[in-house]
Symmetry: C2
DNA sequence: GTCTATAATTTGATAGAC
DNA sequence: GTCTATCAAATTATAGAC
């Protein structure tokens, strides 16, 4: 099924897909093995414990997510386009992949995560907020752009999008996600939904 | 441990506390039995299947949550006070109980919930949005108050608060929750944080 | 209503052959 | 690196005595 790249990469890819639908305790080494086409003992060879696997999956997810967003300081890309790209990333996973954000789901389960996995999820949120904060500091349309205010707005956008995925998935309505994006990001002037479906 | 009321009530109370920290698949009949002081077979007597238990827990949670909020149409209570009360309910569960919103966590796990349980979570979101919508329609400070706009703002508040609990819990910082509330609800005029710590 | 006992399955993980 | 075989523990759930 997932047969691109090395075995370790296939395992990570499969584990991520399972985790984003079922949560950390919702997938097993046997689930992964069956999808990759090996035995569960072979999965343990690559990732000795489930915490090891969880850490690897979360780190890979975070790196890939941020890389896809691009440099928040790139002068060639308008801040509001970057914001639209951020929302579009979540929307794509919701609509095309029909999956949660890995760290949104893991974050909800943080009390039952092994400590090293929880630390990775924390890293995703911290790096996400930092990325958004840089973008928001460049965007003057929202008013004040001091440190505290841009951080607060970054946290608000992150939280709203994570919540939007949960509510939209549960209600089975994509429009709910779009409504929340509209209500959160594009308060000042231009609606962001236009550029959102791109990419 | 949970020894108020009937056995069935103790089971529901215990199950809710476990579910709000560990998620639907993160607690077992034995966990509940041990805390209540009976055997797991006795839990099955009251709630034959785990789906039965999940439905009962979610419905009880939803009813209690909405009852605590009060009538959104009550002319004696200002809309903005009702909004503050809504945010305060989540804040209390975050700070005092150190627990997630049951339906926020279940919503994140919706793909692995038995269908009847998922339906109850949907009910929580629908009733929450309806409650917020009524309040927002009464509150003119946000500008337009037409049906579509108030619904969109209701969804946005719900999503932001659910996301806020996840992010604040994962980062281990209550201030993060407060920042998001500030950035979501009290955009127009008066800050809501004042009345938030009450109740 | 609560218990003992147990079934049937699944889980994460390891030992050791190849 | 991958396999077979296996372990110890945990899971939901049921049968039947009291």
């Amino acid at each position: 099924m997932a047969s691109t790249g090395t075995k370790a990469a296939d395992i990570l890819e499969t584990a991520e897909n399972l985790a984003r639908n079922r949560g950390y305790h919702g997938f097993s080494y046997r689930d992964i093995a069956a999808k990759v086409g090996i035995k569960s003992a072979s999965v343990h060879y690559h990732f000795p414990t489930k915490a090891d696997l969880g850490v690897a999956v979360a780190r890979r997810y975070t790196d890939r997510f941020l890389a896809a967003l691009g440099d928040p300081r790139d002068p060639k890309t308008a801040p509001r386009l970057l914001l639209a790209r951020y929302a579009a990333a979540f929307r794509k996973s919701l609509v095309e992949d029909r999956q949660m954000c890995l760290c949104g789901l893991f974050g909800a389960e943080v009390a039952v995560l092994p400590a090293p996995v929880a630390a990775e999820v924390r890293g995703f949120f911290e790096r996400s907020v930092e990325w958004l904060q840089v973008v928001l500091a460049r965007d003057g349309s929202g008013g004040a752009v001091d440190e505290a205010e841009s951080r607060r707005r970054a946290l608000t956008i992150l939280a709203a999008l994570q919540g939007a995925m949960i509510v939209a998935r549960t209600l089975g309505r994509v429009e709910v996600f779009d409504d929340i994006v509209e209500g959160t990001i594009s308060s000042p002037s231009t609606p962001l939904t236009a550029g959102m479906k791109a990419d």
